[in-house]
């Protein structure tokens, strides 16, 4: 399926991609908006049919079910190889978002333990709550909407950090009064459903045989070491420690990346959301995690500029304010892998333990996460390190006695095949097979 090239291909139809496509189309560009999912909306708009936030003007541009597994650079543009055929475009806007960041603790692989995003997707996308006594845990403001949506089904929210950290960033907060209102609204909702909200508390273990039936939660001291522990019964856990931007395509394209304040690897964008590679724009969480509003603003800037227009000044101001808030948020909710016990599983696909990761460094002489991956296999399985990559990088850096670097994360995030594709699909078009 090869059609005539679009002016602009937007990859990802979440808040950033939708805003980018709308902005570009509004300025007369021919747009193709691709998403691997069957329905646009991304992480944020997961509504079931009937609640569709997608502007009617965009619907004809949307190519749903098009997972881009590789982008090739050609002289006059780009070829997007997707699971539903090739798409050509002169310019690409990468808006592939981010996915839940997970940290290992004993029992985290038990059935009934979900990511916060996964729990939200089940509820919003399929109308199915993950349990009736759900423990919501992890860090960051995105735990609140998850708990608020599950309502009376939540046993408690356990936040490893503390929102009081925002007090260190009065300016960033003052520039975003809406965020305070939003936070307060969620807290009120929790209060209304009598859901306890604990700060500086983390789930340190999940218990159960074939399904989780309880968790151990612990108060954390100033150095984030668990101090007092207690067990809580539950039938599901939703855990989220922030997000990992989805960088396969920017890395395939050779875009510059850097370490962001939340410890994630992000692609570097200039003031017009341009990547370091000509013809490539970035919008949304691929260039830093900061919430749906920021993604929309970045998308609008990218879409307008890619279509040859000058983005409005008000957008640039809004972006600056939202980014300041995101920075304050990352500073408030810091994430580290902690010190999981040696027999904790890090990589569930290949069943690699913390001990095996540490031994690859201490015994076998690996000096970075890529080396550990090659020796002990974390990240070699089906998910290709999407789940365990961040934790592996933290554990390896700790075993090496140094902080995690951008190079560490790049070594784990580079995936020449960005989405699953069958060999048959790949071989199509080869003569004489």
């Amino acid at each position: 399926m090869t059609t005539s090239p679009a002016d602009i291909a937007v990859i990802g139809a979440g808040p950033a991609g939708l805003a980018a496509a709308a902005a570009a189309r509004g300025r007369g560009a021919r747009v193709a908006l691709l998403d691997s999912a069957g329905r646009p909306g991304g992480q944020y708009w997961r509504h079931r049919d009937g609640h569709n936030p997608i502007p009617a003007s965009l619907r004809q541009d949307i190519l749903a079910g098009h997972a881009v597994w590789h982008v090739e650079v050609e002289a006059d543009g780009f070829v997007l190889h997707t699971t539903a055929g090739e798409v050509r475009a002169r310019t690409v806007i990468v808006a592939t978002g981010a996915y839940d960041r997970q940290l290992p603790f004993p029992g985290w692989t038990l059935p009934g333990v979900f990511t916060a995003g996964g729990a939200q997707a089940m509820l919003k996308g399929h109308g199915v709550p993950v349990g009736d006594r759900v423990v919501v845990a992890g860090t960051g403001p995105f735990l609140l909407p998850v708990a608020a949506a599950l309502r009376h089904r939540v046993t408690g929210v356990f936040e490893a950090g503390s929102p009081l950290g925002f007090a260190r960033h009065p300016l960033a907060v003052a520039r975003n009064p809406g965020k305070l209102v939003e936070g307060a609204r969620y807290l009120r909702a929790l209060h209304g459903h009598r859901i306890p909200f604990h700060t500086r508390t983390a789930v340190v273990a999940a218990h159960g045989d074939d399904r989780v039936h309880a968790v151990t939660v612990a108060r954390l001291d100033r150095n984030r070491r668990p101090v007092s522990e207690r067990e809580i019964e539950c039938d599901a856990v939703a855990v989220g420690y922030g997000f990992t931007p989805q960088l396969e395509l920017p890395l395939q394209l050779g875009c510059d990346t850097r370490l962001d304040a939340d410890g994630s690897l992000v692609a570097t964008a200039d003031e017009w959301q341009r990547a370091s590679v000509p013809g490539v724009y970035l919008a949304g969480e691929v260039c830093g995690v900061g919430g749906a509003q920021l993604s929309v603003v970045e998308g609008a800037i990218a879409g307008a500029h890619a279509a040859g227009a000058r983005p409005r000044r008000s957008l640039l101001r809004k972006r600056a304010a939202l980014r300041a808030f995101a920075a304050a948020m990352h500073d408030t909710y810091r994430v580290g892998a902690g010190r999981p016990a040696d027999d904790t599983i890090v990589c569930r696909c290949e069943e690699v333990t913390v001990r095996e990761v540490r031994e690859s460094v201490v015994d076998l002489g690996a000096t970075d996460p890529r080396g550990v991956k090659l020796l002990a296999r974390p990240g070699m399985g089906l998910c290709q390190g999407r789940v365990c990559g961040y934790a592996t990088a933290c554990l390896v850096a700790e075993a090496c006695g140094r902080p995690v670097t951008a190079a560490d994360l790049r070594g784990l995030a580079a995936r020449p095949i960005a989405a699953p594709v069958t060999l048959g699909n790949l071989a199509e078009g080869v003569e004489d097979a």
Binding site: L364, G365, A366, T367, G371, L374, L375, M380, P420, G429
Partner: protein, 378 residues
């Protein structure tokens, strides 16, 4: 006498281990990490099947014996050493005739090569295409997990007193009044040594230049495809008879002659292409597509199997496709162990063993003349 090995890849690790086991004091330097060079960019086939009679086959036969010994000493498990055997498949009458000729000549050199009829191939490989004219079974072919094997040999060398310094680049050589090498200039300072072993793989030519003894070692790029994990659907290393021609080819253009094998983790590895395009790290879709198509040709069920990832590496090759092994008469004290092209994993065990024999003054098990470093001098 002290030995300094440049390179902590499979070949450097084998040299370090065998030298340490022979009682030499060994230091290993690598500018990267352990096994992060080409050793992490290839596969772990230890093959006698793909080699024409000649010095490389002799080296491979010695290596197969040495790998068995390493497996016993270090533990086959720690190397993921598997004696799985190889199956070569012919898909046309001329290919079968060529293969039968090759197996005959290989048998005369001591290779265990069994001709197999088309009807008997499914017993060896049930999922193989039925569109075959015949094949050969090579029980001696085996495999290791290269990174694990290199790390395990370095670990064993350390237990024997060797030291390993990663993140340490060699930038020059130190010479005595008589012009002999007395050590190296490394990122971390000067290091004295009686012997310096150049096990820098694809960068062996650069290191040799630093010592003023040029060697023509060049990169030959290759891609490998990795599928999703599957149950045990492929039992041997399986490849087509065309592979042997591809390995020995002098063509600079792209060649793909696929080798398909299952790994312990369940993934199927599909390798490998051969291209001379310098150190170009870019992904090449036409190459990947060609590998996929050839693999499906051998195992039709693979069409529905998902590709998980691809990776690439740069084989160190010399113009005559033979490695460089042994002392360099141009620079006393300098010893080479590099340029093993697409067989450095397999050939490393023999290479390390021969280097240790040479440095301890023993008579090498093999005549090193075909591998001598000065053979390229015009």
């Amino acid at each position: 006498m002290d030995v300094l090995v440049i390179g902590a890849g499979m070949v450097g690790a084998a040299c370090a281990y065998h030298c340490a086991a022979a009682g030499l004091r060994v230091t290993v330097l690598d500018r990267g990490g352990v096994a992060t060079g080409t050793t992490s960019g290839g596969e772990g086939n230890i093959l006698v099947s793909d080699k024409e009679p000649g010095p490389e086959l002799d080296l491979a036969l010695l290596s197969v014996r040495r790998w068995r010994i390493l497996g016993e000493r270090i533990g086959a498990d720690r190397l993921e050493l598997e004696h799985k055997g190889g199956v070569v498949v012919a898909r046309s009458a001329p290919a079968l005739a060529g293969l039968a000729d090759l197996t005959g000549r290989q048998r005369a050199c001591g290779v265990d090569a069994v001709d197999v009829t088309a009807g008997d191939l499914p017993a060896l490989e049930p999922n193989l295409t039925r569109d075959v004219t015949g094949g050969a079974h090579y029980p001696q072919d085996m495999q290791v997990q290269p990174m694990l094997a290199a790390a395990a040999l370095l670990r064993a060398a350390r237990d024997l007193g060797a030291t390993v310094h990663t993140g340490t680049e060699v930038r020059g050589f130190l010479f005595g009044r008589d012009g002999a090498v007395t050590g190296v200039r490394a990122g971390s300072g000067d290091r004295a040594a009686g012997w310096v072993v150049n096990a820098a793989g694809t960068w062996g030519g650069e290191v040799a230049d630093l010592a003023g003894a040029p060697l023509p070692v060049l990169p030959r790029k290759g891609f490998v495809l990795v599928t999703e994990p599957l149950p045990r659907v492929i039992r041997h290393k399986v490849y087509t008879a065309d592979y042997v021609a591809g390995v020995a080819s002098d063509d600079a253009g792209l060649e793909t002659s696929v080798v398909v094998e299952g790994t312990r983790a369940g993934t199927v590895l599909i390798g490998a292409s051969r291209e001379r395009v310098g150190f170009d790290r870019r992904m090449s879709l036409p190459v990947i597509r060609e590998l996929a198509a050839q693999a499906i040709g051998l195992f039709p069920f693979l069409a529905d199997v998902t590709l998980l990832r691809t990776y690439l590496g740069f084989r160190p090759y010399c113009p005559d496709h033979l490695p460089v092994i042994g002392p360099d008469p141009r620079v006393p004290g300098l010893v080479h162990a590099c340029g093993h092209e697409g067989a450095g994993i397999g050939l490393s065990a023999a290479t390390g063993h021969l280097i240790a024999q040479t440095l301890t003054g023993a008579t090498p098990d093999l005549d090193l003349a075909p591998f001598r470093p000065e053979r390229f001098a015009a």
